[in-house]
């Protein structure tokens, strides 16, 4: 089946209502209110710009030309604070080092394939660079010591988590699970409450 489309604005309309708890509202509103002009605090400006370009390739957002869901700032913040998600592939170096090496390695792939920096490539070429990385055997000296598979998986998983934690991404997939007060009573197949939005026709 073709994937459904959902109307915009659904989560934002529910946030102020009594269906959403204070703690839940605070978490989601904070992501909506994040300033668009984030200044990197851990990554060097050019490295941060590269991460942004890679993130835009992994999550192309042509539907949000003015204000895409920001992905790179959360990574920069996490690396700055030294936070972890509780585990790391032993095959990879510590996260800060892995990102530093891995982003350099992506630049290496871009140079090897197209003789250009990643940010200067068109979308199709960027896709090929990321494709080479995702394929697990990309060109470049970096990837002789850094496990390409694991690095790509970790970076993709982190950016994916950041993307789908955002209220706009949740609107995109028709998810309104945050509006769970006082209860869900219609939980069976093809059942939904009035506050659960149907897909667009």
């Amino acid at each position: 089946m073709t994937a459904p489309h959902y109307p915009a604005g659904t989560v934002r309309a529910l946030l102020p209502t009594a269906h959403v708890s204070d703690a839940t509202r605070a978490a989601l509103q904070q992501r909506l209110d994040a300033p668009a002009d984030y200044v990197p605090q851990f990554l060097a400006p050019e490295t941060f710009a590269l991460l942004e370009a890679v993130a835009a390739c992994l999550f192309p957002q042509p539907d949000r030309p003015e204000q895409p869901i920001p992905l790179a700032p959360s990574v920069d913040q996490r690396l700055l604070e030294g936070r972890s998600d509780g585990w790391r592939y032993d095959a990879l170096p510590p996260d800060r080092e892995a990102y530093r090496l891995g982003l350099g390695g992506i630049q290496e792939i871009a140079q090897a394939l197209f003789g250009q920096d990643f940010e200067r490539l068109d979308a199709g070429q960027q896709g090929q660079v990321v494709g080479a990385l995702a394929g697990g055997n990309p060109p470049g000296t970096t990837w002789q010591t850094l496990n390409a598979d694991r690095f790509f998986e970790e970076m993709l998983a982190e950016l994916t988590t950041i993307y789908y934690a955002h209220p706009l991404a949740q609107e995109e997939i028709g998810y309104v699970g945050m509006a769970d007060l006082p209860a869900w009573t219609k939980i069976g197949l093809n059942e939904k409450e009035a506050r659960e939005v149907p897909m667009s026709e």
């Binding site: 089946m1 990321v130 993709l156 069976g188």
Partner: protein
Amino acid sequence: MPDEEVLEEGVLNPVQPEIQDPLLRELMADAPATAPALEVPQEKAQPTTAPLEEVDCVVIGLGAGGAPLLARLAQAGLKVVALEAGPWHNPEKDFATDEQAQDFLFWNDERLSAGGDPLAMGKNNSGTGVGGSTLHYTAYTPRPLPDDLHIKRDFGKGEDWPLTYDDLAPYYEEVEQFLGVSGPTPYPWGPSRPKGYALAPLPLNSAAQLMVRGAEKIGIRTSPAPNAALSARYYQEGVGWREACTNRGFCQAGCSNGAKASMDVTFIPLAVKYGAEIRPNSFVTEIERNAQGLITAVVYTQNGQQYRQPCRNLFLCGGSVETPRLLLMNELALSSGQVGHNLMAHPGVQVWGTFADEVRPNKGIPGGLISQDTHRPKDADFAGGYLLQSIGVMPVTFAGQVARGRKMWGQPLRDYMRNFNHIAGINILGDCMPHTSNYLELSDELDARQLPKPRLHFTAQENEHRMNAHAERIMRDIWEAAGATDIWAFNRYAHVIGTARMGLSGDDAVVDRDGRAFDVPNLYISDNSTFPSALSVNPALTIMALSLRTADKFLEREMRRDA
């Protein structure tokens, strides 16, 4: 629930609790002073604050292993102190219906995952806070079937438990009744039971209904699952009335209304009522011993201050990573050579499909439906077996698995994720055999506390591969019969088990059947590290049952010593 400030001032437990049991009262009165001060000199990082008074028992860790025995020991009138590394939450106020905001429930100090099938930790496999990982467990509470405990007897592989199902059955019943487990009566698999589940089953959500539809067509029996979330209000000693589940579906990111029987709304309030003292944010680093090798005190850090808590007995309940880590760091109870070894993890392959029906998989308890028809499949080419369960899912968790499991990215990932409301899953939970290549060790890399990070080696072996293949085939059949398209499998392992196993002899086990360390008579271990085999069911119920049994055996021994 008291907040930390109140706890630190000791207001919660200002008086010496009265010892209720006459025998124990005598015992405590006659208890010999602790062994003469022949302490092995130990280096201490920094001077500790004012010395604390000796207590009967210190319990480290307040998850499914620590909380039940804490309540039992307090009820017996002992002076008990619990040290929990994480904070004490107020779920109603603090818990958001948002996966990312709930990350604080996981043990986020980094663990290193090595081997051919590195174990995902963090949200997959760990917990912290008063309640431990029960704060985010699915609350799936099936009992093992009797032959689960005798895998070696039946297959010549793995390890047998030094206990039988009958040893544990009364404790299963007690835990089920106390927590208010919702489930089917009679339960379709296993021996008949004197008592049914405390409450009727929870309602089936879409994923469960779809699994019924598919399983019926291919001749697999299913049943609503036993789950420790309340299908109706339930009276809880020490708490009062707990309200019924509101179908939030966020069990794995923390229950905000107390319907799910995490330890913080069940055994811990009971323990507090009987005088147990809870010290949250207390990270244990050292375990002190005297010349006889008996434990005399634990050293811990709370809010930047170091404390030394003298104790007569220690109950180590930190789970299969922190328990062996503490033993290894303190060179404690290592003579069997088994600490850190026999690390097991449940095969937990998930099979996902897309349905034309509207599923909205975030609603209702995630694990609504169970089948144990695959416990000992007739056509199996492997030892042991597995159970099947339907799975609901939250969007961020699901998206992360799509990224890792399908390696989708770019527009295809965004397109696939727009099917979220039409996705449903089934997974298995299968037995796992111990293997020499699967173990935990201390690495050379230090964490923020300047302690060695644990490294977990895990490589699935032939038996796990065969079981996964068998299970994936069956789950694909179920989903095809139910009408799913775009079916895919996500290979995963959940629950870290083993690493300090129980057994009959100190030659090849760390603790005996009562959880008592062979090397250290006043050390008990109560958590999933003591499991000799993984069992083909979710571990929490068995951890709690063993915890109560360990407390009872300890109390019996104390009384005997007195007599």
